[in-house]
Symmetry: C2
Subunit: 298 residues, 2 copies
């Protein structure tokens, strides 16, 4: 096994529940960093693929076989997390740290508080990495490099549990960020969930119209890129909407107010204001892209 | 000069008014196809650059010097087209064909009917190609390859005038599409103008909030791609909004209805419907991308 520079906790045993894009990528990168990885997946083909790719040291078919790990990472869809917590709870060893990679945090923390025994420690996690392509076949060991990894620890979580999850995030090349659940959920509503809904509504407003076949030859890269997120995992996004209703509805209102403001300027022929807004937002967007490039290259 | 396979009308003289991204790219590709190109640009640096790049045979500093060309292509921002038509009108030779590359057609055709003498023939044109980067430095001779080039001819336009513009479009590698002005303007509102407004409103709803500095570390490629169009030419998009108000406001309403429908499903916890919509729109979006890929490779 190669000894990498990011090696933090050689030999720490980690179990990953769910070997999709995120779980598979996590296994690849953590094994390179010296962790011992047990992976759980229901489907035999996924377990075989995880072993072939080197994403896990051991692949197990029974959920309860993951409980001996020092850290258990839940990498299943948001709503499935509840059932997995329920199944694991009675079998957990005292001191086990449980974390997750789900896109919303308030709901997950509430389930963990509800279901896990006091002797286990839950630390919410969320790596800001993904692709439209799902499944272990698209796993990459560099998926998390330069990305923010949110760490959301409930009050009274022992510092060593938080430190363990933070080290695991760091070992993937991600940049850990401690944040509270409400701030996290509002932020991802703005940066990820409402952009997905906008992409999907643009797809709906164009592709499903009866006139679409005659409009289609006029469509090009603009519509392709603004609708990209609509090709993402439908179940994951449904779960996100279900588990982050309040923050999403608030940000969706805010977005629709901005659209309505543009409609008003166009209708009232306030062409100067329209130009000023477009110029200002072009500058802000270019600044954001420069920020992303800087992070990706650090 | 290389003789290319798309060579159609060797020796036809074309004048291009405005040597930005589109005008410059058009010069490059038409020269390769055997046309003789006169280019007009106000700024001396742009004229020099056009000559250096080989985008024009001759660069002229006076607008009236373009009138001897058989076809005059207007490649200036939408609202500037009116002033250029006004300046050219008194100097046009009988039989000259005038065309354009602007993003909206109803307004342009009205100006042309208003301003040009009956002895000149206007044929509206719109290549569906562009980038966020503006200016001749970004010109590419392959910019139009596989793209639709809309041809919008007013009633009673002589067939040879339409044929000349169609051959010019074909010579760039584009796919000419004859379409009426109202259908064109409704189509581009759906495929291009409202996606731009959505990208810009997403930028507004995120980047200009006071909380943005604390949200920013959670943003990634999703927000980058859905806001890409907001980095486009602000003046061009302002002109588009001004010259295509009706169609844009209609499509914007339609888009906001789709967003409101998603908000209702989320609020009323109709999670089954939400999943069904997301799955259907993912399929439609994947189908659209496959269509674009097929065209680009033809």
């Amino acid at each position: 096994m190669a000894v990498s520079q990011t090696r933090q906790q050689p030999g720490t045993s980690v179990a990953i529940v769910g070997l999709g894009l995120i779980g598979g990528s996590l296994g690849l990168t953590l094994r390179e960093a010296g962790y011992r990885i047990t992976g759980f997946a229901r489907r035999p083909a996924v377990r075989r693929r995880a072993l072939d790719l080197g994403a896990v040291d051991v692949a197990v078919a029974e959920l309860r076989e993951v409980v001996d790990a020092e850290i258990i990472v839940l990498a299943v869809p948001v709503l499935a997390t509840q059932a997995v917590l329920q199944h694991l709870a009675p079998h957990l060893t005292s001191g086990t740290v449980v974390t997750d990679v789900a896109s919303t945090k308030t709901q997950i923390l509430a389930w963990a508080a509800d279901l896990l025994p006091a002797s286990a420690h839950f630390v919410g996690g969320h790596p800001m990495a993904g692709k439209e392509t799902a499944g272990i076949d698209h796993a990459e060991s560099t998926l998390f490099r330069g990305r923010t990894w949110c760490i959301v620890a409930p009050d009274h979580t022992p510092p060593e549990a938080v430190a363990g999850v933070t080290q695991l995030a760091t070992a993937t090349g991600a940049l850990p960020l401690t944040i509270d659940a409400l701030t996290h959920d509002a932020a991802v509503a703005a940066t990820s969930h409402v952009p997905f809904l906008a992409a999907t509504a643009l797809a709906d407003a164009s592709f499903t119209r009866s006139e679409w076949p005659s409009l289609r030859p006029l469509a090009s890269t603009g519509l392709r890129d603004t609708t990209r997120l609509a090709s993402g995992d439908a179940l994951m996004h449904r779960d996100i909407c279900v588990s982050n209703r309040t923050a999403i509805l608030q940000q969706l209102d805010h977005f629709m107010e901005r659209l309505a403001a543009f409609a008003t300027l166009i209708r009232e022929q306030d062409d100067e204001q329209l130009l000023a807004h477009f110029e200002r937002l072009r500058t802000e967007r270019d600044r954001f892209v420069a920020y992303l490039d800087t992070r990706r290259n650090t």
